[in-house]
């Protein structure tokens, strides 16, 4: 009897063998890993599309791409990077790290967790298949404005809309799971105000997801109905209103951009204290700032549509509401700086990405403030200035924070120390390339170069050539990232349980690599 139990335990100790481990897994670490690998694959697919765009824009005139295909590239690049790369990467980090951070044995709803991951590859297979359909992929921009993306869309549009329904369902289930985990499975003694910042920002992000992803599902449903069931939500001839589309879309869209940045704030708030060897400055104010940013995100949506023909009162309201967001965001940036002030700083790879984040995200924040000025926005609207703005907050913003997080927690996942030389090589290459790529876009944008157009006036040629060179350099430097994680997973010096000297938190109390199951007995938090 004793013998049998021993064998059983031995056999069932680790993960299941073969493909079944991945298909049927309910383990939060496995699912987190699959999310991250999926996001990386999508990042490279979306990146190749970005390089196609930059190759065409290297010189004025039409060289490589048909204009229609160029439009498909801009549309698909946006959708894939937002829904396929950035969002799943953050969800993956949440899955992997939140149970470890709060001392929970797993996510609260492990089977739903499996489902929310496994519908994603199908959703994106549908989305990517539109590229091979008659009439091409949808090309009306990732914002899918009606009527351009309803009445005048290629037949493949319906597949895109259906895939967005799938991604939305996945996100909503993921968010419900994260809230249920954080609210119910915290270790004894871990009160809400003792939670690590990454967990806090994800809790707030999950509420944003539940609030707005269904609105996106609603607007997508209305588009399907307009296109195939004869309704006229956005069709002026039938009494609808195309501007209504923009209102509903951006009611989802603005909280969505915070969904892509709040977890990044959480990651930075973990890494800066670790490598400053100090506690986070102003923990409570960080929590409240995150919550106020989330709440304010619901009342600023129309700043995306200043030129649509709004009355002055509305423009003024949305202008000031938008600018108020700079206050809680400023609180965060100053808190990070105050955390570093008089700390014992060291500059390992995660810290470099975190500092790069603070500097470059702030540049993106400032150009956002410029865009918020309603009268000035008429000059910038739909120019490359907007492209520069949102790439600064999404690439050296959200994406750098994901790099930082991966480098920070990689020793915990693989049990191997980082190769600092290669990590720093990746950082400096990315940091330089990202600025060569996106900084010149501010200038051509202010000078009037419109976005989403495959050709441009001769005067923009030099800056565009520069941006294209930067883009290819940035693309290549991500191969260094790929090399770094593969190399780290295969071999390396044994990492310590508390790999970083200043690291605080429950995830550093388990050995590196973490066992397949952790916290079967809840830890005590004092």
């Amino acid at each position: 009897m004793t013998e049998t139990t021993a064998t059983q335990e031995h056999e069932h100790h680790g993960p299941a063998k073969g493909i079944g481990r991945w298909l049927y897994t309910t383990n939060h670490k496995d699912i987190g890993m699959m999310y991250l690998i999926f996001a990386l694959a999508m990042f490279f697919i979306g990146g190749v599309m970005a390089l196609a765009i930059r190759a065409e824009l290297f010189q004025p005139g039409l060289q490589l791409l048909e204009p229609a295909f160029f439009n498909q590239m801009t549309t698909m690049h946006g959708l894939i990077m937002i829904f396929g790369a950035i969002m799943p990467a953050f969800v993956g980090l949440a899955n992997w790290m939140i149970p470890l951070q709060i001392g929970a044995p797993d996510m609260a709803l492990p089977r739903m967790n499996n489902l929310s991951f496994w519908i994603l590859p199908f959703g994106f297979a549908i989305m990517l298949s539109t590229l091979f359909m008659a009439g091409g992929a949808p090309s009306g921009g990732w914002t899918m404005y009606a009527p351009l993306s309803t009445t005048y869309a290629p037949p493949s549009m319906i597949f895109l809309l259906f895939s967005i329904h799938i991604l939305g369902a996945s996100s909503i289930m993921g968010a419900i799971n994260i809230i249920a985990t954080i609210l119910n499975l915290r270790a004894p003694g871990m009160t809400l105000m003792k939670m690590p910042m990454f967990t806090w920002t994800w809790l707030i992000t999950a509420f944003l997801l539940i609030a707005v992803m269904p609105v996106l599902a609603g607007v997508v449903t209305m588009m399907i109905m307009d296109m195939h069931f004869g309704t006229s939500f956005f069709n002026a001839a039938g009494g609808g209103d195309p501007v209504l589309y923009q209102h509903i879309f951006w009611f989802f869209g603005h909280p969505e951009v915070y969904i892509m940045i709040l977890p990044a704030f959480g990651i930075i708030s973990e890494i800066i204290p670790t490598f400053s060897r100090k506690r986070l400055f102003g923990y409570a104010s960080m929590v409240y700032a995150t919550a106020s940013i989330a709440l304010l995100s619901f009342v600023v949506w129309a700043h995306h549509m200043f030129t649509v023909g709004m009355p002055i009162v509305a423009e003024v309201f949305f202008m000031f509401a938008t600018m108020i967001i700079a206050v809680p965001t400023g609180v965060k940036v100053f808190n990070w700086i105050a955390t570093m002030f008089r700390g014992s700083l060291t500059f390992e790879t995660p810290m470099l990405f975190a500092i790069g984040f603070i500097v470059l995200f702030t540049i993106g924040g400032f150009s956002g403030l410029m865009l918020a000025i309603a009268p000035a926005d008429f000059q910038y609207h739909d120019t490359y200035f907007v492209v520069a703005h949102f790439h600064y907050v999404l690439v050296p913003g959200a994406l750098f924070s994901i790099f930082a997080a991966v480098y920070y927690w990689l020793p915990k996942w693989t049990g191997h120390k980082l190769n600092e030389t290669m990590g720093q090589f990746h950082f400096w290459l990315s940091f330089i390339a990202v600025n060569i790529t996106f900084f010149p876009m501010h200038f051509v944008g202010l000078a009037g170069m419109p976005r989403r157009i495959p050709d441009y006036a001769l005067q923009f040629a030099d800056f565009n050539a520069m941006a294209s060179v930067g883009a290819f350099l940035f693309g290549l430097s991500q191969l260094v990232f790929l090399y770094n994680i593969v190399q780290n997973a295969r071999a390396g010096e044994k990492a310590d349980a508390r790999e970083w000297e200043g690291a605080e938190g429950l995830e550093w109390t388990v050995p590196s690599p973490h066992p397949y199951h952790t916290f079967s007995t809840p830890p005590e938090v004092k």
Partner: protein
């Protein structure tokens, strides 16, 4: 799965059990509610525009209630602009592009439309008034935009429009622009 681990996980989930079920049900209900809210935004948008007068849509229709005094001392410029969305082949325009009118006076004008195609077609005009602040002071007693406009192949028509500008129109408004977009709705007949 490790037996000890499975036992502890099920113990923890059980302990959190009923509280958790309630939470998860609420969260799912919240997302269903927000899906509904997306659709509720459609009528809310109409109501909001109606109350605030945004969008230039809430002009008055039908006969003017009381006989209004005509303000001979004041002249307001009324401009008519028309546009055809893509794929709308009709020739369509105002009989008079600009009219100078005294507030309170009933004005008759008409628009001209021609169907140059070989097909019988139906059109619907969708109006908008700028500045939107003027919209509540602009009353259409009769307008071709109230009805669908069928037209035989090659035929042309004069489409009437009768309107009054309210003498209460704020003093700072000196020009009202009335725009019509003409949509092909043949397929929807």
């Amino acid at each position: 799965m490790d037996c000890a681990f499975a036992a502890s996980l099920s113990y923890i989930l059980h302990a959190a059990g009923s509280k958790m079920n309630k939470l998860v049900v609420r969260l799912f209900a919240a997302s269903v509610l927000m899906f509904g809210f997306g659709f509720a935004l459609v009528p809310l948008y109409e109501v909001f525009c109606d109350i605030t007068g945004l969008n230039g849509k809430n002009y008055n229709r039908g006969p003017v209630a009381a006989v209004q005094s005509i303000d001979y001392a004041r002249e307001v410029k009324v401009q008519f602009i028309t546009s055809n969305p893509a794929n709308m082949p009709w020739e369509f325009g105002p009989y008079e592009r600009t009219q100078r009118v005294n507030p309170g006076r009933t004005i008759n004008t008409h628009f001209v439309a021609k169907n140059p195609t070989a097909e019988w077609m139906v059109a619907q005009a969708v109006p908008s008034i700028t500045p939107s602040e003027a919209a509540p002071y602009f009353t259409k007693i009769n307008c071709f935009c109230f009805d669908r406009q069928p037209l035989e192949s090659g035929a042309s028509t004069e489409m009437p429009m009768v309107y009054v500008v309210d003498p209460e129109l704020p003093r700072h408004i000196s020009t009202i622009t009335v725009s019509y977009s003409l949509y092909d709705i043949t397929g929807e007949e």
